[in-house]
Subunit: 300 residues, 2 copies
């Protein structure tokens, strides 16, 4: 794979496999609790780039041929990402009405159902991570390590802590230190863990895990800087959510601290740094290099 | 162990070990996200009978000598139970102001923090289930099976589905079929899974797992029937939450369907059935028999 066109085809192929697997394994809707399953499925299948599960597959493919073996694990990661979007959009949190181009979960199903849909999606992730179909193919010791990596990344010292700090920072004067803390916890932690989990499942050597961890950090940061940027200059229809939402909420973002031009520059520098960290992996990591440039230039 | 007094000492000893372990492993509160950790700790350490983690320890002790080996796993179960209480109490859900004798989490920390505290506690559970200190002692294959058992029990086809159905049933005419569905999902699933997870971690034979699964079903049902009963006749101070709350919300409960006397009778019958299912385990399961009678007669 050497160019954007090939990467796009690759991402599309993986996206399609991920969505097929989610559909195959999603719990059947029977009996009295089915409303919450409908709500969860609504948000889970509302589209999305599926970048996190794809990073897991890429991490695996660096060391093993057949990433179909860990597709279900990757889908669990998407469940966690979707739960975080549903809860973030709640009125008590970011109070956003649109997500992935559709009304937010709580706008369609109400707050109680949306809270439960998020809760259930987090549980479903761990149900899939430990699914008998995965144990058939993956050494349980590696599975445990990969699950621990994800659980840690989405907990108090990861995504949840980052969301908390992000909410608390609204409307207040912020520092670069605080901004970086928020972004590395809110966004970077899960993106990095997604890539690492795939490599862990493939039993990658520790020296490579260290490289991928550093790379994942910079890639995650890049992802959030571009997110901050697109909130200001992106196209509402392409993004699938209202723009200038960070501005209205007085969120602490890269543009709020540095302005648009400097933010663009920082995105470029972060992409360069990410690519730089990949050097020890040589040709093996070519796909991550192209992916970095792709995410630098993304419009949604 | 043959009598209530000895059981009480046993429960007290285990409760104390569980709380000590939670304190030892609870994440350190540093930096910008610490508010959500404070909120989570507030609810986690607000007291509680710790019945679910104790059931996990009992399940383990039926087959292995030293249940200290799985204490951290048991504590993870308590994290999940506490997260479910925090989310249930939210205004959009059951809208309860008191829990475990103290103001509910969202009354002290606000809704956003309470939602995140619950989310983080669920993640923390799985972080602990896969903690390096557990892998040292437990075969990862057994660990995976136990985690799967818990994750399934608290998801859409377990606790979360039950909560959904419970909310939807408020104020509507209910049937015994619906009541049983709600209770077996909302409450029974996690209680049964707690006991089973301990037995799974100890590599119990399948024939015993089947017996414990049946027993766990009846014990969980008993627990919820007594809960329904205590909501009407219990003492507010002893319970740590307002009584007659189910009545005000027009919840579908055993007393709402059968009246108080019949509910008491059904509790007794369910306890008898639970004890009956234990027969194949003979003397080994004596502690579960006494625990059943203890839970039948509990006042909080």
């Amino acid at each position: 794979m050497v160019n954007f066109e090939e990467l796009k085809n690759y991402l599309e192929e993986k996206r399609s496999k991920i969505e097929k697997t989610i559909e195959d394994y999603f719990p059947k809707k029977g009996s009295y609790g089915k409303r919450v399953l409908e709500a969860a499925q609504y948000s889970l299948m509302a589209g999305g780039k599926r970048i996190r599960p794809i990073l897991c597959l890429i991490g695996y493919e660096l060391y093993k041929d057949n990433s179909e073996e860990v597709l279900l694990f990757a889908c669990g990661i998407e469940c966690i990402h979707t739960y975080s979007l549903i809860h973030d959009d709640l009125p008590a949190m970011d109070d956003d009405d649109y997500r992935r181009g559709k009304p937010a979960c709580h706008k369609v199903y109400g707050e109680a159902t949306a809270i439960l849909a998020g809760d259930g999606l987090q549980a479903l992730a761990f149900e899939w991570f430990t699914h008998p179909d995965l144990i058939k193919r993956i050494d349980p010791f590696l599975l445990i390590k990969a699950i621990h990596c994800i659980a840690t990344a989405v907990g108090f010292n990861g995504m949840v802590g980052g969301q908390m700090a992000d909410l608390l920072a609204e409307g207040k004067r912020g520092s670069y230190k605080k901004l970086k803390w928020i972004h590395t916890h809110k966004t970077v932690a899960l993106i990095r863990a997604s890539l690492l989990s795939g490599a862990l499942l493939a039993n990658a050597p520790s020296s490579h895990l260290r490289v991928l961890s550093k790379f994942g950090y910079h890639l995650g940061l890049l992802f959030q800087i571009v997110d901050d940027f697109l909130d200001l200059v992106g196209d509402e229809k392409t993004l699938g959510k209202p723009v200038k939402s960070d501005l209205k909420k007085k969120k602490l973002t890269y543009p709020s601290l540095f302005g648009l031009n400097k933010t663009k520059e920082l995105a470029q520098i972060t992409a360069n740094t990410a690519i730089e960290t990949l050097k020890p992996l040589e040709e093996k990591a070519k796909i991550l290099e192209i992916l970095t440039l792709y995410l630098l230039n993304r419009v949604n």
